[in-house]
C-alpha cells in the first residue's frame, strides 16, 4: 500500500476501523494534542479575562504534539487508524 501511494499519491484508504463519530476527535488528538481545536477568536477574549492568550498546554507547545505523534508511531497507532503523520490527518 505504501509503495502504491508513492506511485499514485491520490489513491488513499477509503475507510478505516474508527467509527465516523470519533474520527475528528482522534485525528485532532494526533494533530494538535487536543480533541477541541483552539480558534483564534478566543485569544483576545482570554487576555481580556486575565488569562494567557494561548493555553499553556499542547495548544502552545509544539513539543507536546511531537511527543504524542512519536508515541503514536512507536505503538503503530498511526498505521492502525490510518493517520498520515506528515499531513496530520486521516488518510480516509
Amino acid at each position: 500500500m505504501e509503495e502504491n501511494l508513492q506511485l499514485y499519491p491520490l489513491r488513499k484508504d477509503l475507510k478505516g476501523f474508527l467509527p465516523p463519530q470519533f474520527r475528528i476527535s482522534i485525528s485532532n488528538i494526533l494533530s494538535i494534542g487536543h480533541v477541541q481545536e483552539f480558534v483564534d477568536i478566543w485569544k483576545g477574549r482570554r487576555v481580556k479575562i486575565g488569562l494567557s492568550d494561548i493555553p499553556p498546554t499542547a495548544y502552545k507547545h509544539e513539543f507536546a504534539t511531537k511527543q504524542i505523534q512519536d508515541i503514536a508511531k512507536r505503538l503503530m497507532f498511526d498505521k492502525k487508524i490510518g493517520f498520515d503523520l506528515e499531513k496530520r490527518r486521516l488518510k480516509y
Partner: protein, 290 residues
Amino acid sequence: MEYSFFLGCLIPSFQPYVESATRKVFGKLGIVVHDIEGASCCPPTDIPRIADELMWITLAARNLALVEKLGYDVFAVCSGCFETLMEAKKILKENKEVNEKVNQILSNYGLEYAGKVKVKNVLEVLYDDVGLKKLEETIVKPLTNIKICLQPGCKLRKFDELNLPEKLKKIAEVIGCQVIPYKSERICCGFPTSFLNLDFAYRERSKVKLDEIKSAGADCIVLVCPACLNQLEMAQLKLKDEGLIYDIPCINLLELIAIAQGFSATSIGSIYRRIRPTKLINKIEGKTHG
C-alpha cells in the same frame, strides 16, 4: 496549598470563563496553581480507548508524568479529565506489565510515571482540603436570591466513595444558593449518546431535564462538567428552533463562587457563552427582582 491545574481541552479553548473563575477563586483562597506546560488532552476514556487502550493510557500517563515533574497533586475541573486521570492511575498501579510498557515509552522524552501524586476533583479540593468554613470566609456577596438546579453529571457519580455530587450541593449552599431538587437530576445530560444519535440525546435526555428544571423555576443550572454545559446549552438552542424556549443559563460552580467572592461576571468572562446569563447576573446584582 499548591496544586497542578489540569486544564484539558474544552475549558481553555471554549469555556475560558471556567479557567478564569478557577484561578480567581483559588487565588482568593491563597492556593497556588501551577500550569502543566505541554499537557495534552487527557484523553477521554470513551474515545481513544475504543481505538487502542495502550495508546490511551500512554497519553494519560504522559500527562501524569508531567504532573509528577512539577511535584504537586493535580486537580481537574473537567469531570471527563478527572475520570481519565483517576482510571489511568488505577490501571498503572494495578497492572505492572502496562506500567512497564508505558514507562519505557515515556523514557524517550525524559519522563517517568512513578505514582507519586494524587489526582483530585476540584470539588474535593474545595470541600476536603480547603473546607466549607474557609470557603465561606471568602464570600462577600452570598447568592441568597438565586434558585438553582444541579447537574452533577454521570462522571462525578462514578467514584461513589468520594461523594462528589453531595459536595457539589454543599458548596453551592455555602455560597448562598437555594438548591431545588428535581426528578431527573441523576439522569445523564445526553452528551455521550450525542455521538450516536443527536436527536435522542436532545429529546430523550437533555429535554427531559430542561423541562423539569424550567418547571422547578431555577434561575440557572449549576454544574462542573464542561461536556454537560455544552450539551445543555446546545440542546436549548436546538429546541428553540422548534419553538421550545428555555433560556436557562448553564453556569459552572466555580463562576458562581467567584461572583460570590466579589468578582464581576465580566471579569470572569461569563458573557462568552451561547446563552448569555444577563438576567441571572442582573438578579445577582440586584438590578431586577425575581
